[in-house]
């Protein structure tokens, strides 16, 4: 068993809606998996269950062999902070903080001193093409730049798995592709696994594997050639 993260027989309902109807999904270290599927099919719910944001109604989630789905909110929250990284569609950066402090925030929450956290955060800027943007605030960055800052923030704590829910959904196609490539490359470069929800088949192409969700079940677990 060399999966870093594995969900087994995951089900989740919201009232009458069955969002997940028994899903098995596992990710190996350093692997990038794209989740595709129509709107409302259960992609976000699957991501949230795997990331310990939401507790499934049934089934289990293991991180490096340890069950995380039955942990209390406080422990899951600590886990998300230390072992996972997140990139959302938009709005995740605090508007009042300059970009470098936004990236440094997870480190500071983990107890790293402010000076050290900011220093480490800034190391990410040039490689992600954000050189010179350290002091800008999110409102002064373009959409693509803001998402790259979000990528830096997700990776700065050296997480085991990065979760991205339509990270380029708010960007135009060219910028979206650039950003997605940066996300996949940077994640791999850091040895982290990536689970990314996307609508763009082209984007999915950069990942190792694509899975398709439809009405709460996994259709094809097609490995990429």
């Amino acid at each position: 068993m060399n999966d870093v993260l594995a969900g087994r027989a995951l089900t989740k309902r919201f009232g009458q809606t069955v969002a997940l109807a028994g899903v098995d999904m596992a990710v190996r270290p350093g692997e990038a998996v794209a989740i595709m599927g129509p709107s409302g099919s259960g992609k976000s719910t699957l991501l949230h269950c795997l990331a310990g944001i939401m507790r499934p109604d049934a089934g289990e989630v293991r991180l490096e062999g340890t069950r995380i789905d039955d942990m209390g909110e406080r422990r899951r929250s600590a886990l998300r902070r230390t072992r996972f990284g997140f990139v959302f569609q938009f709005g995740q950066l605090l508007p009042e903080l300059p970009a470098d402090e936004n990236v440094a925030l997870p480190l500071m929450l983990g107890g790293v001193t402010r000076a050290e956290a900011v220093r480490r955060a800034r190391e990410w800027f040039a490689p992600l093409g954000l050189g010179g943007m350290e002091a800008r605030r999110p409102g002064e960055l373009s959409g693509g730049q803001a998402q790259r800052a979000a990528i830096a923030r997700a990776l700065v704590t050296k997480p085991a798995v990065v979760f991205a829910d339509e990270p380029t959904g708010a960007l135009d196609q060219t910028t979206g592709h650039d950003t997605m490539r940066l996300l996949v490359e940077a994640t791999k470069h850091n040895g982290a696994s990536l689970i990314v929800v996307t609508h763009d088949p082209g984007v999915a192409g950069w990942c190792d594997r694509t899975v398709e969700v439809r009405d709460g079940v996994l259709l094809a677990a097609g490995a990429r050639a």
């Binding site: 949230h48 902070r81 995740q92 508007p95 903080l97 500071m108 929450l109 402010r114 605030r137 002064e140």
Partner: protein
């Protein structure tokens, strides 16, 4: 106008959108109720002044005199009675004073309802015997307040009460004056109260305006994202403004109505607050219907204006809100405005026009409000630069980002700090008088002291009151037997007529009653009687201070709660995403607390100092312990209130971040 679309927008925010709407409505209701109170206070004191005017005669001058009037004070059971002597001049038939059906005939007395009641309850020898020929009861139009004790005595124009000279001290009474009408004019006393009431109004209204403005922007802040989006899809600026303003005005109108109802319900309670010797006629605290209607119309209009101001950014640049750019820096011109006003305080205060004083205080207040955001921004910069932990850093950056919003949270308490600093120095301690009730003194006409003393002895013996009557120059001194010596504080001071005594209240009132009319136009009084008005004024200042501070606190705490809640609603998406990524809610909460407490400590403290500075020219006595205690209690209550009000939004933070998939709406 797009009323239909507006309505949908109003409801479109769903449960949380409606929550913002309810908060606005509540805030407007609180402001309207308090605004009505602040305004009603002035009308109430004016009404009292008008009703009391008939007892303050104005000399006829060149007009034909029709009557002669004089007044003085008598006492019963430690309470003050106003005694008015009134006679029609020969051949004249003047209009009766307000509240009387006819002009009192010589020998008749008319009592106020409270005095008539008291006279019926006490033994006749203690009070009723002072008024042998009761002819009627004075109507409310003749009374300053419902509990007032007044006796109006009809006299012949040549009666000794209306011909003998009296003391010219206004505290003791007024000389007989020939008048052309009984309209009179408000007493200096009443005018003094009106000045104090005006100052209190200014102190209450300015924080209210700030708060009301904040409440109006709350609606807009909740919507500016959505409206910017509307603007991006091509709504014209006019449409955007019309819709938002319509929404703000509708909500504010409902809030203003609710506030008017709340004030109406509070009036019976408020009317019990005793000032100047008694409670209020409920009608006095009812603002004129025009004022009431004006408030219910003006508050929504001001809210609409405030909404327009808040929207200017959205309309000017649709991207302005969506992109959240760095706001332009606060101009240091504002600091200059404060300094200029402060410099003017000592100069202007030398004149003693009441209106001017109110204007200066209002200006000082407004300029604190101008520099507030600027200083908050500065505090934020310092906090952020020195922060080591995330909560502090977030708080500091937040203050720099939006100092106005942070200022709105603390402005109420800071402005209250100004009030507290002002009043803390101003309110003198309780007057420590002699409290002596064992000696009655009355001055006799020149050379007649011995005769008057002999008559006093006869009357007291006849009434069965044991007393020693002596004379000191023209003053007749009646020392009651059966009085106990006063020990303690006042006892160290010696009265001119021997040790301080406390008489049995009933015995004292029997003596007063027996001695009624001993010297026409003069009342035998104890030292405690002579200290009565000083004590009353100090007590009233203390009551007024508590009222103003309570109002300021209500505003401060309400605005702290509202701003805290709206700041959670405004950034709910970011907060939710931070929580998803594992940020502990405690960090966010600590940041929110620091974001309020840091500016509160600095601004509150600063405002107290500015308030104290403005209060110095008005100081009557040295600052006293009770004033300082009021100040400390004020600061403590302000902090506790704001922290408490902020804590109330914690469940809101929890609930808006609980949704695992926040969708931008």
């Amino acid at each position: 106008m797009n009323v239909g679309l507006t309505w949908r927008l109003l409801r479109g925010g769903g449960r949380r959108g409606m929550l913002g709407t309810w908060l606005t409505l509540g805030a407007v209701a609180v402001s309207t109720a308090l605004l009505l109170f602040a305004v009603a206070v002035d009308f109430a004191f004016a009404a009292r002044a008008d009703r009391g005017a008939w007892r303050n005669p104005v000399a006829a001058g060149s007009r034909p005199a029709v009557a002669v009037e004089a007044s003085r004070h008598d006492y019963v059971r430690g309470r003050e009675i106003t005694v008015v002597d009134l006679a029609a001049l020969p051949g004249r038939s003047p209009e009766p004073p307000p509240g009387l059906s006819r002009f009192p005939a010589p020998g008749e007395v008319w009592l106020s309802p409270a005095l008539a009641d008291l006279a019926d309850r006490l033994p006749a020898a203690e009070l009723a015997a002072r008024y042998p020929k009761r002819a009627g009861v004075l109507g409310d139009e003749a009374l300053v307040h419902p509990d007032e004790l007044i006796v109006l005595a009809g006299r012949a124009p040549d009666a000794p009460e209306l011909t003998a000279t009296r003391s010219s001290d206004w505290i003791v009474g007024s000389q007989p004056v020939k008048v052309a009408t009984l309209a009179g004019e408000p007493t200096e006393d009443a005018e003094g109260y009106q000045v104090l009431a005006l100052i209190a109004s200014v102190l209450m209204v300015v924080p209210l305006l700030v708060f009301g403005g904040a409440a109006a922007r709350l609606t807009v802040a909740r919507r500016d994202q959505r409206l910017a989006a509307l603007r991006l899809v091509g709504a014209t600026p006019g449409q955007v403004v019309a819709m938002t303003v319509a929404e703000a005005v509708i909500v504010a109108f409902a809030g203003a109505l609710a506030g008017a109802v709340a004030y109406a319900l509070a009036v019976p309670l408020l009317s019990r607050v005793r000032i100047d010797g008694g409670p209020w006629f409920v009608a006095d605290l009812w603002p004129h219907p025009l004022v009431m209607a004006g408030a219910v119309v003006a508050v929504p209009l001001l809210t609409g204006l405030s909404a327009v101001a808040g929207l200017r950014r959205v309309v000017v640049s649709p991207l302005g809100v969506a992109k959240r750019e760095t706001p332009p820096g606060m101009r240091w011109v504002r600091l200059l405005a404060l300094v200029a006003v402060l410099a003017a305080v000592p100069v202007v205060s030398r004149g003693d026009s009441a209106g001017l004083i109110a204007v200066v205080i209002g200006l000082a207040f407004l300029s604190i409000n101008l520099v507030g955001p600027w200083v908050v921004g500065l505090i934020g910069r310092i906090t952020a630069a020195s922060a080591r932990r995330p909560a502090r850093l977030l708080a500091g950056r937040r203050l720099v980002d939006d100092p106005r919003s942070a200022w709105r949270t603390v402005s109420g308490v800071a402005l209250t700090g100004f009030v507290a600093g002002f009043l803390g120095l101003l309110s003198p301690g309780t007057l420590v008088g002699t409290q002596d009730t064992g000696h009655l003194r009355v001055s006799a006409p020149a050379g007649r002291a011995a005769t008057v003393a002999q008559e006093a002895r006869d009357r007291l013996r006849h009434a069965g009151v044991a007393a020693a009557v002596t004379t000191r120059k023209d003053v007749v001194v009646i020392a009651l037997k059966d009085a106990t010596r006063i020990t303690g504080d006042g006892a160290r001071r010696e009265a001119p007529d021997g040790p301080l005594l406390r008489a049995e209240p009933a015995a004292l009132d029997r003596a007063r009653t027996a001695l009624t009319g001993l010297v026409p136009g003069r009342t035998p009084t104890t030292q405690a009687d002579d200290e009565y008005f000083g004590g009353e004024i100090l007590g009233d200042i203390a009551v007024g201070t508590v009222v103003v501070l309570s109002v300021s606190f209500l505003v401060a705490i309400a605005s702290a709660g509202i701003t805290a809640a709206s700041s959670v609603l405004d950034r709910r998406q970011t907060y939710a995403l931070l929580r998803l990524a594992g940020t502990p809610l405690e960090v966010l909460d600590r940041a929110r607390r620091a974001e309020t407490l840091i500016p509160l400590a600095v601004m509150g403290g600063g405002a107290i100092l500015v308030g104290a500075f403005c209060g110095i020219p008005f100081m009557i006595t040295d600052p006293n312990l009770s004033g300082l205690v009021t100040l400390v209690v004020c600061v403590a209550a302000g902090f506790a209130g704001v922290v408490g009000a902020g804590a109330l939004s914690r469940p809101l933070l929890r609930s808006v971040t609980a949704d695992p998939a926040p969708r931008p709406d």
